[in-house]
Subunit: 189 residues, 2 copies
Amino acid sequence: MSRLSRDDVIEAAGRLFAKQGYHATSMRDLGGELGILGGSVYAHVSSKEELLVEVVQRAGRLFGESAEQAMSSSEHPEDQLKALIRGHIGVVLDHRDEAQTFLNEATALGESNRQAIVGERDTYEALFRSVIADGITEGAFRSDLDANLAATFVLSILNAIERWYRPDGRVDPASLTNDLHRFAISGIS
Amino acid sequence: MSRLSRDDVIEAAGRLFAKQGYHATSMRDLGGELGILGGSVYAHVSSKEELLVEVVQRAGRLFGESAEQAMSSSEHPEDQLKALIRGHIGVVLDHRDEAQTFLNEATALGESNRQAIVGERDTYEALFRSVIADGITEGAFRSDLDANLAATFVLSILNAIERWYRPDGRVDPASLTNDLHRFAISGIS
DNA sequence: CCTACCGATCGGTAGG
DNA sequence: CCTACCGATCGGTAGG
């Protein structure tokens, strides 16, 4: 056993925050997960909230990068929407702990930190809205359903995936992407 | 100010559990909300978890009653699905605190209590699956999308409503029901 | 429902 | 990263 890195500590924190929640996780729990004492965690970070900030920021960065890549992958709203869906699913499934903490524990952040990541999330969600709105303008999607509401529905499905998806289950990521995309597209086109 | 009833206490607990989360709510917080001391809450309940159990059970009962009513309102899967959607939205919007606690804080329950309400929830969700499956059998819905996945998508949207819905916003319950129903139906028919 | 309190646990620190 | 500890807060109780 070599010494722990700061990354090891943040990763373990993400694991526990995702599984038990932020408030139900003590610094002694985290120490136990790492094989050290609770007080020793303070050799790597200066507060418990700093850990939550780091975990949530990682997820925020992953979602942001995914969105950037999805938007530049095509000029067509239909393809952009599919890429956004595929990317979101990828982030949620490849970084479950961070994503779960981001989605469920961000409320535990202090005011200023919380507002910062809410801002990030709003920017991300606005992309879904504008892509759907563009698709309506271009005639690719139908126009009787509000673009904002459609985006909210799609994001609701995406954000719930971590609540039911099992990696060893019958659904694989690629077909989930296809099925969700088809479901969404049928709903709006 | 007359004396508080046990119902008053459970209601206040639901309010705080929904807003701050179970673990972030102390018995002293709850006392403060009620104008009494933290220790005095134990004149009405015998433990903090009992409060959570009561709040979550109330929500469970409401969802169960809504489902029962929806199923007996028609024989046609299409109408039953719409009634299920309408009922779920009604519960979430008319009993926000209980519904929110049910959806977000059930993980804080002890093992046996948690398994009991997970069972209730599974029964409830199974209704959505079977209604959609029936609709496929009868030819009312299309059959290229798995009924289980479609039910999961619809429930994902329903369960996310408490996260974004604002009573003073532009969306009213009836049109939300219509829009979601149309979105779902397009996705499966 | 209050007074007065209990043991346990919490986040965090000084010094090594 | 450990030892040894701090003040604060937690869920909960006996007795009135």
